[in-house]
Amino acid sequence: MTSIRARLLVALLTLVACASLFAGALTYRRVLAETSTLFDYQLRQMALSLRSQVSLAPRLELPPDQGDADFVIQIWDAFGARVYLSRPGLPLINRAVLGYDDLSLQGQIWRVYSLQTVDGVIQIAQPVRVRQALARAAALRVVIPLLLLLPVLGVAIAWVVRGSLSPLRRVAAEVQRRDVHSLAPIGSIPLPQEIAPLIDALNMLLVRLQAAFATQRAFVADAAHELRSPLTAVRLQLQLLDRAPDESARLEARTALGAAVERAIHLVEQLLTLARNEPRTSSGALSPVALEEVVADAIGDTHALAVARAIDLSLDAQSTVLIQGDREALRAMVRNLIDNAVRYTPVGGQVRVVCRSTAEAAVLEVIDTGPGIAAADRERAFDRFYRRASAAEEGSGLGLAIVKAIADRHGAHVTLEDAAAGGLHVTVRFARGLSVA
């Protein structure tokens, strides 16, 4: 785990230290350059002033210099003999390069200025370390206060960082308070603009989570509630079977019990189909599917019911209509559409399934001669467990909800209309290019 505070502290202190050292180095160089110019000038001035003295008194006995003096003076006569040395035992050079020169002598570097006079050469030398010492002192004067400030800076930085990060701690505390039962968005904390996007994203996630949990809870509650009816029927028939007074009553109860169990199984299957096709939970890749084949399969699934209800069930497929889809889900969708149509259409009616292809969409239509759905109820018809009052057979109330969920998954659009001959006309439109969801 990395600590922003530690990283900032180390980085900032290192930066400050580096900057201090850089400033020191810069100061050193600048001061060294300046003192060099200054001392060079001084060396020349001394040489010039000595020349005037020496020319006046060529054999002038200058007093020997003190040992710790910065300067060493050497005077040569015209014949190359040394006439004066300010610090005996420290012979500079015998040959002189006129003007400025750097010489290494006895482990130190000397700055030397040699001046040609009428009767000789005047040499003045100064150790370079004098100049370096000055520059070093100037540099240290800059660096040391800065380095001394480092601990203070460290404390200050830590304090500022801590203050800046405190909204994060508050946010963490807020997030910690959230759980499955309280997913309220985090609000009313004054936030720095760097953290605000995180909180916005988190809040959006919380809202989505809340909605998802609410949907899930509602679904489970609805499912539990809806399972009561078929289970009540099962229990009822079981008790009737127990108390049946004669063989015919027993047979009747056993048949009814079988039907009740079938109904409970059907509801559970429908619930599963719906849950599998709920948005974002659905898995299974989409692949090219021939719509008319799926419809043919679905007609096979519902054929028995259609025959039992004497419904004329027909398929009108022009040509191969290819869409991107999950074959099993599409089959469940078409089966539910046909099943609904067959259940709600009075005995002897018609259910027509049409599969066609237009320029911009693949279209599936299921048209029945039943009672239809009133315009006001069409929106609600897609709700889970919505049932039309005129159901001839007990449905799960999930048919259209499943159709909608599967259509949504395939980017398809479902519309309910009145059929030309009365009854319901359901259209599922798979937009081309969009069907690859």
């Binding site: 509630h225 009561r228 009816s229 078929p230 289970l231 009540t232 029927a233 099962v234 229990r235 009822l236 028939q237 008790q239 009737l240 108390r243 007074p245 009553a249 009747e252 109860a253 009814a256 039907a259 009740a260 109904r263 049932r387 009052a389 057979e393 007990e394």
Partner: protein, 219 residues
């Protein structure tokens, strides 16, 4: 004993009808709120078994309308709504009892008997009058402590007359209790049952008020 069953679930309704008929009740079935309200408006029932989640009109609404009219017909709610608040709403709307699905058939029968008993102002599970004792739970009938065997129809007629001793029930009222709407009524069936009841219980057990109807005298 005539019962109105209001239930939109066909399977449950059919099962309940079978069970209630086996218990000797006359059952009429309505599948939605509006027809239930209409039936309650036009006919007399001894008891109503009412589902709440109904098409067209909610069961609670049907119940409230019934009570607003001053109709005190015992109502037993049979529903999948199991929240405490739902039960409170149901009972406070005028229901006499509240049973949550999935229910036990025997419990429904027992609660129906209990509701009917209270509706008729009795605490005794047996109905007693004129030396006759009738137990609705077992359908056993005794006269002065001696068991009497009755047919289902004879039992139904006797039970109707015993509900309120002294009160006179016309032939039409008795037919009403014996047959639902979907049964053909034989013209002299009630006379036949009264006759056989008198044969088994003694001629003085059931009195006739000529031109009005039949009654069992109060003790």
């Amino acid at each position: 004993m005539r019962v109105l069953l209001v239930e939109d679930d066909r399977m449950i309704a059919q099962g309940l009808q079978t069970a209630l008929r086996q218990d000797g009740y006359t059952v009429d079935w309505m599948g939605d709120g509006n027809s239930a309200a209409a039936a309650l408006h036009s006919s007399h029932f001894d008891l109503v078994l009412l589902d709440l989640g109904l098409p067209e009109r909610d069961g609670l609404e049907v119940l409230r309308e019934l009570r607003r009219r001053g109709d005190a017909t015992p109502v037993l709610i049979l529903t999948a709504r199991d929240e405490v608040q739902d039960r409170i709403d149901g009972l406070d709307s005028g229901a006499d009892d509240y049973i949550v699905k999935p229910f036990d058939l025997d419990e429904v029968s027992a609660r129906m008997r209990s509701v009917l008993r209270r509706a008729n102002g009795r605490g005794d599970p047996c109905i007693r009058a004129g030396g006759i004792c009738l137990n609705p739970a077992t359908h056993a009938v005794e006269q002065q402590g001696v068991p009497v065997q009755l047919s289902a129809h004879e039992y139904a007629v006797l039970e109707a007359l015993l509900q309120r001793p002294g009160a006179i029930l016309s032939r039409a009222q008795l037919e009403d209790r014996l047959y639902g709407w979907d049964t053909q009524v034989e013209s002299n069936a009630v006379e036949v049952y009264i006759h056989s009841l008198r044969r088994k219980l003694g001629s003085e057990a059931i009195r006739t008020l000529r031109g009005v109807g039949y009654f069992i005298p109060k003790e």
